[in-house]
Amino acid sequence: MSWVTKTLKSTLGRKLIMALTGLFLILFLTGHVAGNLQLFYNDGGEAFNIYAKFMTTNPVVKILSYLTYLSVIGHVIYSIGLSRLNQAARPVGYAVSGSSTNSSAASRNMGILGTIILLFLVGHMYSFWYQMHWGAIPTVTYEGETYKDLYSVVQIAFQQTWMVVLYVIAMGFLAFHLSHGFASAFQTLGWNHAKYSPAIRAVGLVYCIVVPILFAAMPVYIYFNS
């Protein structure tokens, strides 16, 4: 085995992949939430549609989006491998569990939280990403240029109560995943330092509250404003 595969097959190497892909997904979420804030403009969707076109055509964004797909796939595949390894490490469990006294519920259920996020992601990608790329969606024209009207697709989707409820709940799960994941990724990378760890934990706490709330606010806002 070469030293590269040896490292990446070790428990530490596998965790390194989890942390790096997880952090990349956090970067992605940051960009995604910032861009989608344009849904709050009261401009009939012009800014959002122009942005959506840019995001599907710009070459730099293309590279970033491929990295994002790769990160999701890598994160999920490695999480399956690690979860199986971790379960195999304790074939016989305890009759009485005291785990609630020594660790957070989110940290103990990253796999379940992640699986729910994955199910949500599949549905979410189908509703918007697939429609934007290959679906038959209406077009609009701004200053002589034609744009796919993704804004109207979003508007229609979020007039359905169940969709709004689903999105809000899914963002709750994302918040819990990140409440542990954010700081955990830095610990995995070895970035545990008396000077910086408190700041990392604080940023992680703010991030896992603010970002899911902003995401959840979008369907709610559209639901009550259309």
Binding site: N86, Y94, S103, S107, M110, N192
Partner: protein
């Protein structure tokens, strides 16, 4: 005190095992947890039954031999070793469930005794310094800053009990291994084998079948010696940088 003990009984490694319930009476609040089990075992022996097997040695909290998951907590409700846990931490009439450490790498030998040689093999893989140390050196012959010496001493407090593995949902041995890596990586004497050591110890840890780390922090919370998670971060740094720069292709 009167107590009801629900204890894991298992004849040998291949036996399936199961819980047996024992009422015990006349337990003093000042007894240690192990002394309470001694009382039970005397009664069992008098009745001609097989006493409950459990590990213990120093009974003063320094050797790391005692174990037991007590009501779901390794070494019981306090952050100490089972031998240093006293019955005043329990209430009269309480029911107490006692289980062995549970991990694939720690197979049950009998009842509550588990085989912890996996830890020894991790140490054998690299947790030592390969130089002839000779006689006791003069004080301060090798200058080591106090802050660094303190960190190394903190890591060296690990008594190898395995409570970290028992507490971890993944039965991971990262806290133990990282303490053993850290205590040598921090000191000048440990520099020669620094990179090879962490590579070999991590490889052995994985080969033993311990789980990976999810950073839940359960190990740190249950460790009787207060070994900190910063050691795991240090081991990760040591490992990743050794992977990139050691001569071991």
């Amino acid at each position: 005190m009167k107590l009801t003990l629900k204890i894991w009984r298992q004849k040998n490694a291949s036996d399936k095992g199961g819980f047996a319930t024992y009422p015990v009476d006349h337990v003093s609040k000042d007894m240690s947890f192990l002394e309470m089990l001694d009382v039970l075992n005397e009664e069992l022996t008098e009745k001609g039954e097989d006493p409950v097997h459990f590990d213990h040695d120093c009974r003063e909290g320094i050797c790391g031999t005692c174990s037991l998951v007590i009501n779901g907590k390794p070494h019981g409700p306090l952050q100490t070793t089972t031998c240093q846990l006293h019955m005043r931490s329990f209430e009269d009439g309480q029911s107490i469930t006692i289980e062995p450490w549970r991990a694939k790498a720690f197979p049950v030998v009998k009842d509550l005794v588990v085989d912890r040689y996996a830890f020894d093999r991790i140490i054998q893989a690299g947790g030592y310094v390969n130089i002839n140390t000779g006689g006791v050196p003069d004080a301060n012959e090798i200058p080591i800053p106090k802050t660094i010496a303190d960190l190394a001493m903190d890591a060296a407090q690990c008594i190898g009990c395995g409570a970290c593995v028992a507490a971890c949902k993944n039965a991971s041995a990262m806290l133990f291994t990282s303490a053993k890596v850290s205590q040598l990586a921090l000191l000048p004497q440990g520099q020669v084998e620094r990179k090879t050591r962490v590579e070999k110890m991590v490889a052995q840890m994985d080969a033993e079948g311990f789980g990976a780390c999810t950073n839940t922090g359960a190990c740190e919370a249950e460790c009787p010696k207060g070994i900190s998670l910063t050691n795991i971060a240090r081991m990760n740094r040591e490992y990743f940088s050794a992977s990139l720069t050691s001569e071991n292709v």
